[in-house]
C-alpha cells in the first residue's frame, strides 16, 4: 500500500517533509512502510551525519601511517613490525539516560564489535563519562548504573578497561554522556574492510537471534528527549558479553580463512544499516530474505527484523565455496548462523520475505542520498576575563579541591573494571595516559581520552583545541609520540542556532589543532540532540588519542621517583582562571576566556618532553591540567607516596592563577640533581621555559609558608569516595 506522508508517520521516523520528498524522488514512487522505516534509520543524524557532514570535511584524515581513515567500522594506523592499531570512540548517551546499565554495557559491546570486525583483537577500552552532580538521586543512579554496565560487559568479555575520564556538572543532569573507545591490534595483512567485492557471495547473519529490542534506536538517538523518553525503554538493547566473546573469537578465526570477504557489525539501525553499508562500500547490491532470519519471538514483522538493534550480531560475507569452512568455525564456538542473502551487482538493497519483495531501494540513495542540513549558526562574542578576589587560605583550598568530585581519585570507579586482563597493562587507569605493551613486542601504546567541558562551553573553538593539546600532552608525558585521533562530538539540538554555532566552532578547533600537531582523525562519531525539555548539554567534544612508544624501557612515570630529585615546571603560567575547577568551587559564574593553547608553544613543549624522556633525563612527567599546578604536584606526590618541599614560589601572575589556574602547555617534571644541566640545555634548545619548583622527599606536601599538609591528609582528601 503506498503510504502517505502524514505528520505522524514522519515523526515516527524523525524525517522532515523535504526529506520525504527526496525519498519519493529517489524511488520514483512513494515508499512503503518498511522502506520509509529503513530510510528513517539510515537518514537519521546518528547514521547519516546529515547535520555535521559538511563540517567534518575540514578534519585532516590522512597521513603516511594511516592504513584506514573514517568510513569503515574503525580507523587503523601503522605501528611498525607489520602491525596496525585499530580504534574508534562512540557514544551511547541516549540509551544510557533511559537504562544506564544496559545503555553503557551495549555501548561497550558495540565499540568492541567495530574493532573485531576489522580483524583486530580488542586490547583496551576507555570511557569518557559526564553526569549531573551526585547529590541528586537520579544522577547517582545513572552514574552507578553506567559504571556497573561498563564493568559488567568489559570484565566478562575479557578486554581491559584501562582509562577514560568522568566529569560532573549540572549541565549533564538530563542527558549524561557515555562514550566508549576501543583499541585493537591486527597484523597489516589481516586488516579487514567491510566491503563486498563480488556478486554471488553469500551473506551470513551470525550470533544472537533477532528480537524486538532496540527498534529505531538510531532514530531515537537522533531526537531530543522528553518526559515520554522513559517509555522508549524498549528501544534500549540488552547486552550479552558472553555471546560477544564467542563472536569475537569466531570472527578472529574467520579472518584467517580464505574466502571470507567481509565482516560487518550490526549496530545502529541493525540489519538495514549493516547490509546497506557493506554492499554500498563495495559498490555492489544485496538481496536479503528475512524469512531466513532466526527470531526470538513470534509475530515479528519485516519492519521489526530490518530495524531491530538486537546486540551481538555480525554479517559475514563469504565466497560460496568457503561457506562450509566458515560454518565449521561457527560450530566450534556453538554460534548460530543463518544464510540470509547474497551479494548482487545491481546497486540496490532488495528485502524479500520468502518470495514476496518487501523493499527495493537504490543503495546510493539510502546510504548517501540524505540532503545535508545546514541549520543557522550563532557564535557569541568572546567574553573578557574577570578578576576575582585574592585568596586567603591556600591550604584549605587545596584540600577542598583534591576532594572535589571532578578531581578526586577515580580508584573507586576503576577498581571495579578489570584493567589487567590480557597481560599488557603497564600503567592502567589513574594516570595521564594508560600505557599498554603491544603484544609480542617491546613497544608501548599510550591511550587517553580528554575533553574539559567548561573550556569548550566558554569558547568552543579554543576549548576543543585545548582538548586535543591536552590529549597529546598526556601521551607525550609517558614518552610516547601521539599518532592519531578519534573523536566523539556530543552536542545539544543542532536545530538551535547557538548549538549549531558551538558545533561549528568546535569542529574548526578540532581541525586546526589536529593539523597543528599533524594528527590525522581516523574515526569518530557525532551525538547530537542531547537535549531534554529545551535544556541542552554543554558542548562536549571528546578526544580519544593513541600514541606509540618505541621502547617500553624508556617510559616515563607520572609520580615522583626518588627523594632528592628536583622538580621543575615546563611552560609558562598566564593569568587564566576562567573555567577552572577553583572558580567553580568558589561559586564563580562560568564566564570569561578559557585557558588559551598556543599550538606553537605546545608543539615545542611536547618535542622537548619526548627529547628529554628519550635521553633518560626525566624521572617523571605529569601534565598540569584540571585543578592547576598544586593539584598536579600533589598527584605526583600521591602517585608514589613521596612528599615535596617547595621554597616560596614567585611568579609574575597572581598567586591564585599560579596555584590553581589551568593554563595549558605546562608539565611538571622531576630529575636527578646531576642531570639538571642537561635538562636546562634541552629546554633552551627547544625554547621551553623552565621554572624550579622544589625537591622531592619527606612526609609532607609543603609550599613556601602557605601550605604544609601531611601526605596522608592529602591522600585522605583525594580518596574521598563517590
Amino acid at each position: 500500500m503506498p503510504a502517505v506522508a502524514t505528520r505522524a508517520r514522519l515523526e515516527a521516523v524523525a524525517l522532515s517533509s523535504d526529506e520525504y520528498q527526496a525519498i519519493v524522488r529517489a524511488l520514483g514512487r512513494e515508499p512503503n512502510e518498511l522502506e520509509l522505516g529503513m530510510f528513517g534509520a539510515l537518514w537519521s543524524e546518528h547514521c547519516s551525519y546529515k547535520t555535521s557532514k559538511a563540517l567534518l570535511r575540514q578534519l585532516p584524515t590522512e597521513g603516511p601511517h594511516v592504513l584506514q581513515g573514517p568510513g569503515e567500522n574503525a580507523g587503523a594506523i601503522d605501528i611498525g613490525d607489520g602491525l596496525a592499531v585499530v580504534f574508534k570512540i562512540e557514544s551511547h548517551n541516549h540509551p544510557s539516560a533511559i537504562e544506564p546499565y544496559q545503555g553503557a554495557a551495549t555501548g561497550v559491546g558495540g565499540i568492541l564489535r567495530d574493532v573485531f570486525a576489522m580483524g583486530a583483537r580488542p586490547i583496551a577500552i576507555l570511557d569518557a563519562l559526564r553526569f549531573g552532580p551526585l547529590e541528586e538521586g537520579r544522577n547517582r543512579h545513572l552514574f552507578q548504573g553506567v559504571v556497573a554496565g561498563i564493568g559488567g560487559y568489559g570484565n566478562c568479555f575479557g578486554c581491559p578497561t584501562v582509562g577514560g575520564e568522568v566529569y560532573f556538572d549540572s549541565g549533564y543532569a538530563d542527558n549524561p554522556i557515555v562514550n566508549a573507545m576501543c583499541v585493537g591490534i591486527v597484523a597489516h595483512h589481516r586488516l579487514r574492510r567491510a566491503r563486498t567485492d563480488r556478486s554471488g557471495d553469500l551473506v551470513l547473519l551470525v550470533g544472537a537471534d533477532t528480537g524486538r529490542d532496540g527498534i529505531h534506536g538510531a532514530t531515537f538517538a537522533s531526537v531530543e528527549m522528553d518526559e515520554r523518553s522513559t517509555s522508549r525503554r524498549p528501544a534500549v538493547q540488552v547486552g550479552n558479553p558472553f555471546l560477544e566473546k564467542l563472536l569475537c573469537e569466531a570472527c578472529l578465526r574467520l579472518n584467517e580463512l580464505d574466502g571470507v570477504t567481509a565482516i560487518q557489525d550490526l549496530g545502529a539501525a541493525g540489519l538495514t544499516s549493516a547490509a546497506a553499508e557493506l554492499a554500498h562500500r563495495g559498490r555492489r547490491g544485496i538481496d536479503l530474505d528475512i524469512a531466513q532470519v532466526s527470531r526470538r519471538e513470534h509475530g515479528m514483522t519485516g519492519y521489526d527484523v530490518m530495524l531491530s538493534e538486537s546486540q551481538e550480531r555480525m554479517l559475514v560475507v563469504v565466497r560460496p565455496e568457503a561457506e562450509t569452512a566458515a560454518r565449521e568455525v561457527f560450530n566450534h564456538f556453538e554460534l548460530h548462523a543463518d544464510r540470509v542473502g547474497s551479494v548482487t551487482s545491481n546497486g540496490r538493497i532488495r528485502v524479500r520475505d520468502g518470495r514476496s519483495v518487501e523493499a527495493d531501494i537504490p543503495l546510493k540513495a539510502l546510504v548517501d542520498g540524505v540532503p545535508s542540513r545546514s541549520p543557522a549558526a550563532e557564535v557569541p562574542d568572546k567574553q573578557p576575563s574577570l578578576r576575582m578576589p585574592a585568596i586567603e587560605e591556600p591550604e584549605a583550598i587545596l584540600l577542598d579541591l583534591m576532594a572535589r568530585p571532578n578531581l578526586r581519585s577515580r580508584r573507586p570507579i576503576y577498581r571495579t573494571y578489570d584493567h589487567q586482563v590480557q597481560d599488557n597493562t603497564v600503567w592502567g587507569p589513574g594516570y595521564d595516559a594508560a600505557l599498554l605493551r603491544v603484544p609480542g613486542t617491546n613497544k608501548g601504546l599510550a591511550l587517553t581520552t580528554d575533553g574539559n567541558p567548561w573550556y569548550v562551553a566558554l569558547d568552543p573553538y579554543e576549548g576543543t583545541k585545548a582538548a586535543v593539546a591536552e590529549a597529546a600532552r598526556n601521551i607525550a608525558c609517558t614518552g610516547a609520540r601521539p599518532l592519531a585521533v578519534t573523536n566523539c562530538l556530543n552536542f545539544g539540538n543542532p536545530e538551535r542556532a547557538f548549538v549549531f554555532g558551538q558545533l561549528q566552532e568546535s569542529v574548526r578547533g578540532l581541525a586546526d589543532a589536529c593539523r597543528g600537531f599533524e594528527l590525522p582523525v581516523v574515526s569518530g562519531n557525532v551525538s547530537l540532540y542531547n537535549e531534554t525539555s529545551e535544556r541542552n548539554i554543554p558542548p562536549s567534544p571528546v578526544i580519544g588519542m593513541v600514541g606509540l612508544l618505541d621502547d617500553l624501557t624508556a617510559r616515563c612515570p607520572a609520580g615522583f621517583q626518588a627523594d632528592g630529585d628536583l622538580v621543575f615546571l615546563l611552560g609558562d603560567t598566564q593569568e587564566e582562571l576562567a573555567g577552572s575547577e577553583y572558580w567553580r568551587m568558589i561559586g564563580a559564574r562560568l564566564e570569561g576566556r578559557p585557558p588559551i593553547v598556543s599550538l606553537e608553544m605546545e608543539r615545542r613543549l611536547q618535542a622537548a618532553l619526548l627529547d628529554s624522556i628519550g635521553r633518560g633525563v626525566l624521572r617523571c612527567a605529569h601534565d598540569v591540567s584540571d585543578g592547576g599546578l598544586l593539584v598536579a604536584l600533589a598527584e605526583s606526590a600521591l602517585f608514589s607516596g613521596r612528599g615535596l618541599r617547595c621554597p616560596g614560589i614567585t611568579s609574575p601572575v597572581s598567586r591564585e592563577a599560579f596555584y590553581f589556574g589551568e593554563s595549558q602547555g605546562r608539565v611538571i617534571v622531576s630529575v636527578a640533581p646531576r642531570r639538571v644541566p642537561e635538562l636546562q640545555k634541552l629546554m633552551a634548545k627547544h625554547h621551553v621555559p623552565l621554572h624550579a619548583i622544589g625537591v622531592v622527599g619527606g612526609e609532607d606536601f609543603q609550599v613556601g609558608s602557605d601550605i604544609r599538609i601531611p601526605l596522608e591528609s592529602l591522600r585522605q582528601a583525594w580518596e574521598t569516595p563517590f
Partner: protein, 233 residues
C-alpha cells in the same frame, strides 16, 4: 612440564596463562578444549580465569558439566597437578574437587587491584618453592571471591593444613583491611588433602613480569615445575 590450559566458552585468562608459561618461563603448553576427554599427555592442568558460560546461573555451575571435567577429575585422582585460578577455582568447587564456595564480594562490587597473599604452607604442589609466611603480591580481579565454608569444613581445612594463601597486609599481618572480598579467615586459596589440586582467586599469571608490576606469581608456577621434578617418572 606439559601443561594443558582448559578453555571453556567464556574463558579469558587462557591466553595470559599461556603467555606466562610459554613466553616468560619457556614451558610448553597446549590449550585443552572443553569437549576433550583425554589428558594423558599432561602433567599440569590449569583451569584459568574468565566468565565460563557467562557466569550464568552461578559461577562455574555450568562449566563443571563440560565433558573435560570428568577427565580433570580422573587426572586429579591419579595425582596430576591441577591449578584453578579465579573462575577455575570456582569450577573446581562446583566439581567438588575442592571444598567451600565463593560468594559475591562483601562490597557487592567487582574488584580489580593488587593484593598481598601470605603463603600458609609450602607442602602443596604450587607452593613448594615458597616458604611459609612469605608474602606474594598478586592482583585479584573478581566479583565473586568471598570464600565461604561451613564451620566443620573450615575446621578441617585448617586442621589439615589445606589453607594455602590468605589475604594479608604488605607486612604479612592478617587484617580485616587486607581482606578485599569478605572471605572467611582471609582465605584466598586452598588445596585438596593430597596437595595436588590448588584453587586461588588471585591471578598469578598477571604477576610474572616486572614490566606489568611484579613477578611474585612466578613462584607459584615454578613450584609446580619443581614439584613435578620430584615425582618419579
Amino acid at each position: 612440564m606439559n601443561t594443558g590450559i582448559v578453555v571453556f566458552p567464556g574463558t579469558w585468562s587462557d591466553r595470559d596463562c599461556a603467555h606466562a608459561l610459554l613466553d616468560v618461563l619457556r614451558e610448553p603448553v597446549r590449550y585443552v578444549d572443553y569437549r576433550e576427554r583425554v589428558l594423558d599427555d599432561l602433567n599440569l592442568v590449569i583451569l584459568p580465569g574468565g566468565f565460563s558460560y557467562g557466569d550464568h546461573l552461578r559461577c562455574g555451575a555450568i562449566a563443571r558439566f563440560a565433558p573435560v571435567m570428568e577427565a580433570v577429575a580422573g587426572f586429579a585422582n591419579r595425582g596430576g597437578l591441577v591449578l584453578g585460578i579465579c573462575n577455575g577455582f570456582q569450577i573446581l568447587q562446583e566439581a567438588r574437587l575442592l571444598p567451600g564456595a565463593l560468594l559475591r564480594n562483601a562490597s557487592c562490587e567487582f574488584r580489580c587491584e593488587w593484593a598481598h597473599l601470605r603463603v600458609e604452607q609450602s607442602d602443596s604442589a604450587f607452593t613448594v618453592d615458597c616458604r611459609p609466611g612469605q608474602v606474594l603480591r598478586i592482583p585479584i580481579s573478581h566479583g565473586e571471591g568471598n570464600f565461604f565454608a561451613d564451620a566443620e569444613t573450615l575446621q578441617s581445612l585448617e586442621a589439615n593444613n589445606q589453607v594455602v594463601f590468605r589475604y594479608c597486609a604488605p607486612d604479612g599481618r592478617i587484617t580485616a583491611d587486607a581482606n578485599p572480598n569478605g572471605s572467611l579467615r582471609n582465605i584466598a586459596g586452598i588445596c585438596n588433602a593430597r596437595g595436588n589440586v590448588v584453587g586461588l582467586m588471585p591471578h598469578p599469571e598477571r604477576a610474572c613480569e616486572a614490566l606489568l608490576g611484579g613477578e611474585d606469581g612466578l613462584a607459584i608456577f615454578r613450584s609446580a615445575i619443581h614439584a613435578l621434578g620430584r615425582v618419579p617418572a
